[in-house]
C-alpha cells in the first residue's frame, strides 16, 4: 500500500471518529431517555418505523463504524500480531463489508 493510500486511510479514520463521537452520544442519550419510563419494543418501533430522520442518523452511524473499525484493527493486527500485507487488508475489507451489511440490516429492520 502506498503512502497516499495509507494517509487517506488515516484521514478517513479521524473523520469517522469525529462522526462517531457525536453518534455515540446521541445514541446513548436517546436510549437512556426513551426507556426511562419503561418503554416497550413496540413503542420504540412505532417511533422509528417510517422515520427518515432516524434512518439517516443510523445509516450515518453504520457508515462511520464501517470505515472506522477496520482501519483501527489494521493497526492492531500490525502492531500486536505482526500481521501485515494484502491478505490482512483483504480480510479487513470483508470484515468492513459484513459490518455494513449487518448494520444496515438492523437499521432497515427498525425502519420498515
Amino acid at each position: 500500500m502506498n503512502a497516499r493510500t495509507e494517509t487517506l486511510l488515516w484521514v478517513a479514520q479521524r473523520m469517522s471518529a469525529a462522526v462517531l463521537a457525536i453518534c455515540v452520544v446521541v445514541h446513548l442519550v436517546t436510549m437512556t431517555y426513551a426507556i426511562r419510563g419503561g418503554l416497550s419494543a413496540a413503542e420504540i418501533l412505532s417511533r422509528t418505523q417510517g422515520s427518515v430522520g432516524w434512518l439517516a442518523f443510523y445509516t450515518l452511524f453504520v457508515v462511520a463504524v464501517t470505515v472506522h473499525v477496520p482501519i483501527g484493527l489494521r493497526a492492531v493486527f500490525s502492531e500486536w500480531l505482526g500481521w501485515q500485507g494484502r491478505y490482512r487488508d483483504a480480510v479487513l475489507f470483508l470484515f468492513a463489508l459484513s459490518l455494513a451489511v449487518l448494520g444496515m440490516r438492523a437499521v432497515l429492520g427498525v425502519f420498515r
Binding site: 500500500m1 497516499r4 494517509t7 488515516w10 500486536w80
Partner: protein
C-alpha cells in the same frame, strides 16, 4: 549522605546479566560519574559511551532505573531510590556490549526520513530572509535543539511494536526541515515520512515528549507532519 551507592550495571549484549558494584557517593554526582568510576576504578572492561559530559553531544544516554535518560546531566540524588541505581543500555536498539547501544538503525531512519538539508541557493543568489517571528521559524525553533541522544526512540512504545517506524527523532528532524524556508526537498520528504512506518504510526502516547532531556515535543512536530501530509495527499502531491 549515604556512604555508598548500590549500583547494578548490565553486562553482555542481548544476553547477559546485571553486575553489582558499590560506588562512593559524592555531592552533585551524575550517573555518568558513577559509570566512569566503575570503569576506571572497579572494572576496566565495562563498555559505555560518552563525549562532551555537558549535555551537548547526545552520546551518553542509558536506561537508569527503568527510564531512558542523558546520564551526564542526571544527578544521582534525583534518581537513586534508597541509594540504588540500575543502569542498562537504551531500549529499542541492539546492544553492542554492556551499556553501548548500536545507534545505526536510529540514524539510518533519519536518512530514510530525508533528514538531510537540501538547499538550492548558491554563492550567486541572494540570502533567503527568514523573519525570526514568522510562524514557520518559531515552529522550527521549538524543535531544532535535538542532540540525537536516542532517549525518545528508547521511550517510544510504537517503536517497540513496529520496528519499521521511523521514530520521534527522525520525524522531529523532518519537521524542522519542513519549516525551513531554504529547503527544497519537502515533496519527497513528505512522501518518505507518510504512512504506516511514518508519522501516521504515532499513537500520541507522548513517551518521547515526556522523556526528552531537551524538553522538545516530537509529538507536536509529528502532529504537524500529519496535517502537512494530509494536505499534500488531498492536493495529489504525495
Amino acid at each position: 549522605m549515604n556512604p555508598a551507592l548500590n549500583v547494578r550495571v548490565w553486562r553482555g549484549t542481548a544476553e547477559g546479566e546485571f553486575q553489582q558494584f558499590e560506588v562512593p557517593r559524592h555531592p552533585s554526582q551524575t550517573v555518568l560519574d558513577v559509570v566512569t568510576h566503575i570503569q576506571r576504578a572497579l572494572d576496566p572492561t565495562l563498555a559505555y559511551r560518552f563525549a562532551c559530559r555537558v549535555g551537548m553531544c547526545g552520546s551518553c544516554a542509558m536506561t537508569v532505573n527503568g527510564v531512558a535518560r542523558w546520564t551526564c546531566r542526571t544527578h544521582v540524588d534525583k534518581v537513586a531510590k534508597e541509594g540504588r541505581l540500575e543502569i542498562a543500555p537504551l531500549r529499542n536498539l541492539p546492544v553492542i556490549r554492556d551499556l553501548v547501544a548500536d545507534m545505526r538503525e536510529f540514524f539510518d531512519k533519519w536518512a530514510r526520513a530525508k533528514g538531510q538539508f537540501k538547499g538550492a541557493s548558491s554563492r550567486k543568489t541572494d540570502f533567503i530572509r527568514v523573519q525570526p517571528d514568522s510562524e514557520a521559524r518559531r515552529r522550527a525553533d521549538a524543535a531544532i535543539e535535538c542532540i540525537g541522544c536516542g532517549v525518545c526512540y528508547a521511550s517510544c512504545e510504537v517503536v517497540e511494536r513496529n520496528r519499521e517506524y521511523l521514530g520521534p527523532a527522525a520525524l522531529n528532524r523532518a519537521w524542522t526541515l519542513l519549516n525551513d524556508a531554504r529547503d527544497v526537498a519537502n515533496a519527497g520528504r513528505l512522501r518518505a515520512i507518510a504512512g504506516d512506518a511514518g508519522c501516521h504510526a504515532c499513537h500520541t502516547q507522548m513517551g518521547c515528549t515526556e522523556h526528552c532531556p531537551k524538553k522538545l515535543s516530537p509529538t507536536a512536530g509529528i502532529a504537524g507532519l500529519k496535517r502537512a501530509v494530509a494536505r499534500a495527499a488531498f492536493r495529489g502531491e504525495l
